[in-house]
């Protein structure tokens, strides 16, 4: 006898013609396991621990899967109360009914509506472990040390009562939750059916709104729909492996990266992937789990990348593809508290404060739905302009760079010498101690930098393969706003709202005072520039009223530019791109272009 079968006998998974399949509800691994076993066994009866009182409502929801539904309870003439059962594709109990229906087995419900099945309060070892250990081993792990489950005693009593009324000679698969299975042993051994509790409520179907699925699903809709995709294979192929949660979530992460690149122009650095993976592994271990949850993924994305990426993971994970809201609008927005006892929350902050939990946010401002075709139809393009909040941010950053350049120059020019007649700018304690044996004091002199920093050039990408073809020069709208010349991606190829395009800078030039900049891109004076950054730098040297021109880039400019600068009585201060905060750079690198000034009034609704 194989080891797993021996263990199954030992655990009491077989009792006469009954085969028990204890499960963790609402987890895809167990849904897959139940389907696989039922398809292999082909039993005559499938007994499921779901309330028998819900029968007609329940089966109609099961038949409309993969749409998500729920059964609501309430007094016969009263108002609908909290939902009692959520019917979702990745739940083992509803999967048992669904498969029974497909293989022609007779369904029997052995739970009762008198006992509240939800909110869910049972604790289980991580079901993702089924990818590595046999099912029987998992059941044994639970069996050896069952966690307390206050409601399970009563649930097991009802299940035992209803089971004892079934035909013991019929080949029956009994699908129950693990806490109930643990308690069923002794109750079935007693062999006496007790009285069934009377239920005086009413049950009715309720289609669940797609927008709240992230809030109420234990396994996120992304995982459940991946499971939905593999259902047929589970039935046809006895060797089909169980779902791999870790692999599917890794694919979700990769898809989110693609979206993040397309929507936010964001790129994950190798160290970000490495650190996110380290953090994720720790979050998983901290909870004693073996695979992350969507919540962990969002936390890691937010901790190592940013809130936009975290949002993208959340959005992908919780947006169903198969579920369709009822067109008549009769879709219920359920709350997390209606189906969970324990919720965790995490707030994501994009442009506006919003709140997230395992579940979706409470009272948050939702993004308008994407309607690229509709937005494109509204594109005007007569007088493009910038989005003022971004102007403020970029002006601030320009000021910061000018200040940083001055500080760098000052540091470069400071010198330390032994104290003779003047303490200059103060005693250099470090040098004095380093040369303590000399018995002399050392003093520091910081040379003042003459002249200010004027034009600023920031190069993110030297654009040797022409990825940033949009060449623009625009003038400041008031005395504190710089003239700018930049090269970027074409903004109206990535619409984020009506007449609102999102672009990514390849590089830009800022210069004050405003209103002076000619079209840098067609100016023949700069024709000998070999690249776009060089053209911007030439213009910066040309237009800067101050002596120092700040140049930020991945590489310093060619030596010839130092000579050109010197001829114009200018000096280039080079700041390596890597010396600046990548977080800040990411924030300023994205710009939004509006097709008219009127758009500014509505732009904040679409720009995140």
């Amino acid at each position: 006898m194989p080891a797993d079968e021996a263990l199954a006998d030992l655990l009491g998974l077989r009792r006469g013609r009954w085969t028990f399949l204890p499960v963790v509800p609402r987890r895809i691994e167990f849904a897959a396991l139940v389907r696989k076993r039922l398809c292999a066994m082909r039993p005559a009866v499938v007994a499921v621990e779901l309330p028998w009182e819900y029968w007609p409502a329940l089966i109609s929801e099961v038949l409309s899967l993969p749409n998500y539904g729920s059964i609501c309870t309430g007094p016969i003439l009263g108002e609908v109360k909290d939902p009692a059962v959520l019917v979702e594709p990745g739940d083992a109990l509803t999967e048992a009914l669904r498969t029974a229906n497909e293989i022609g087995a007779r369904p029997e419900l052995i739970g009762s509506a008198v006992l509240p099945m939800l909110p869910q309060s049972d604790f289980y070892p991580d079901p993702a472990a089924l990818e590595w250990i046999p099912y029987e081993k998992y059941v044994e792990l639970y069996f050896l040390n069952p966690p307390p489950s206050p409601q399970a005693d009563e649930r097991a009593r009802v299940a035992a009562t209803r089971l004892l009324k079934l035909d013991p000679e019929a080949e029956t698969a009994v699908v129950v939750t693990l806490p109930v299975f643990v308690r069923l042993h002794t109750l079935l051994a007693g062999g006496q059916a007790s009285e069934e509790p009377a239920w005086r409520g009413s049950a009715r179907n309720l289609r669940v709104a797609a927008s709240c699925l992230g809030d109420i699903c234990e396994d996120c809709p992304y995982l459940q729909e991946r499971y939905e995709d593999m259902r047929r294979q589970l039935a046809d192929d006895p060797d089909c492996p169980l779902p791999s949660r870790r692999r599917w979530l890794a694919e979700l992460w990769r898809e989110a990266e693609t979206n993040y690149r397309a929507i936010y122009r964001g790129e994950l650095a190798p160290w970000q992937r490495r650190q996110a993976s380290r953090f994720l592994e720790r979050l998983v271990r901290f909870d004693g789990a073996v695979a992350p949850s969507l919540f962990d993924l969002v936390a890691a994305a937010r901790g190592v990348v940013d809130d936009n990426f975290a949002y993208e993971i959340w959005r992908l994970g919780t947006s169903p593809r198969y579920h369709i809201d009822r067109p008549d609008g009769d879709n219920a927005e359920l709350r997390a508290e209606q189906v969970f006892l324990n919720t965790r929350r995490l707030r994501l902050r994009q442009r506006y404060e919003r709140e997230k939990r395992r579940a979706a946010p409470r009272a948050w401002k939702r993004r308008p739905a994407r309607d690229v075709r509709g937005w494109a139809a509204q594109l005007d393009g007569d007088a493009i302009c910038s989005y003022p909040p971004e102007d403020i941010v970029i002006e601030d950053y320009g000021r910061f760079l000018r200040q940083k350049a001055k500080t760098m120059l000052g540091e470069e020019r400071s010198r330390v010498e032994p104290f003779t007649t003047s303490v200059l700018d103060g005693i250099d304690l470090r040098e004095t101690i380093r040369r303590w044996h000399e018995g002399r004091l050392y003093v520091r002199e910081t040379e003042r930098v003459s002249g200010d920093a004027g034009a600023v050039v920031v190069i993110f990408d030297e654009d040797r393969d022409n990825r940033y073809p949009w060449l623009t020069t625009w003038l400041g709208e008031h005395s504190n706003e710089s003239d700018m010349a930049f090269y970027s991606t074409p903004p109206f190829e990535n619409l984020v709202g009506p007449g609102i395009g999102r672009a990514e800078y390849g590089g830009f030039l800022m210069t004050l005072p405003p209103g002076r900049l000619m079209d840098v891109w067609s100016d023949p004076d700069y024709d000998f520039a070999e690249t776009k950054p060089e053209r911007l730098l030439l213009a910066a040297l040309d237009y800067s009223l101050e002596r120092h021109v700040v140049y930020v880039g991945p590489r310093p400019p060619r030596a010839i530019f130092r000579q050109i600068a010197a001829r114009l009585a200018r000096q280039i201060v080079y700041i390596p791109l890597g010396a600046l905060s990548p977080e800040k750079l990411r924030r300023i690198r994205v710009l939004h272009v509006l097709d008219s000034h009127e758009r500014r009034r509505t732009a904040s609704r679409y720009i995140w």
Partner: protein
């Protein structure tokens, strides 16, 4: 207490102890403790940074997490003139011609296997950060130029930085930024959590007063105002004193008065 490293005697700092308890927002505590975990031999803990507006409890969070590990806690305040030697080992003149080397709280934590909280770390300039670069990666040591020694961190050593989100801070360069991961963002607490914090800090206040302060703070949070529970505590303390001194007839008016004088006239719009 002293420790000898490579023949140099270092005088250690003292751990800190204060009565602070993190209330609510269990998720951020979980993230911080998870980041500090090591997953077996040879694995290194992460160096998280806690961000958030002033007064949301970043230091309290770090302290609470450190205490949960049962380790000694050392807090080092970052300032705009924090120099590398302040962070590592400082020479102090002990007598004629002799020096004494004093280990910073950070280095003491490294040597004792404690937890170092680098408070308001982004107020430090880049040069100071550069001296910590080897500590933040797999090397896990710092070099003291003034004492001429290399100081390794014990495996139990944990580091966390807190950072404010205001304009008076420095930007971190990428090589430091990539080493200070993950970022754990602390947001304003929920109303129930805020009420509990107020209750702990204003034990003499009636529930009605706490509720009013909490409602004021929540209204301000909605509009992303920078008022924090720390301001709420100041308002509560001031209002209670005003009432007990007979300067205001009732708590409602005392609270309005306190809000105006603690946060300014413009804050009154959230006072209801």
């Amino acid at each position: 207490m002293t420790v000898e490293v490579e023949g140099v005697v270092l005088h250690l700092s003292h751990p800190v102890e204060f009565a602070a308890e993190w209330i609510g927002q269990e998720e951020v505590l979980r993230e911080l403790l998870a980041a500090w975990m090591t997953l077996g031999e040879g694995d290194l803990p992460m160096n998280p940074r806690i961000t958030g507006k002033p007064g949301v409890g970043k230091t309290t969070l770090a302290y609470t997490a450190a205490r949960r590990l049962g380790r000694e806690v050392y807090i080092m305040q970052g300032t705009v003139d924090t120099r590398p030697e302040d962070l590592i080992v400082q020479p102090v003149v002990e007598g004629p011609g002799t020096l004494r080397y004093v280990a910073s709280p950070l280095v003491t934590a490294m040597l004792r296997g404690g937890v170092a909280i680098l408070d308001e770390a982004n107020r430090m300039p880049e040069k100071s950060w550069a001296s910590l670069a080897p500590l933040l990666d797999a090397r896990r040591y710092v070099e003291s130029i003034v004492a001429g020694i290399k100081i390794p961190a014990r495996p139990e050593f944990r580091l966390v930085c807190t950072m404010n989100e205001d304009a008076s801070t420095f930007d971190l360069p990428e090589y430091i930024y990539s080493r200070l991961q993950p970022q754990i963002h602390v947001d304003f607490p929920e109303m129930e959590e805020e009420l509990e914090i107020l209750r702990q800090n204003l034990p003499m206040a009636e529930e009605e007063v706490l509720y009013r302060i909490s409602r004021f703070l929540q209204a301000a949070h909605e509009m992303d105002e920078p008022y924090t529970v720390r301001d709420g505590i100041s308002i509560g303390r001031y209002a209670l004193r005003l009432v007990s001194a007979g300067r205001q007839p009732d708590t409602a008016q005392a609270l309005r008065f306190a809000i105006r004088h603690v946060l300014g006239e413009e804050a009154l719009r959230y006072a209801g």
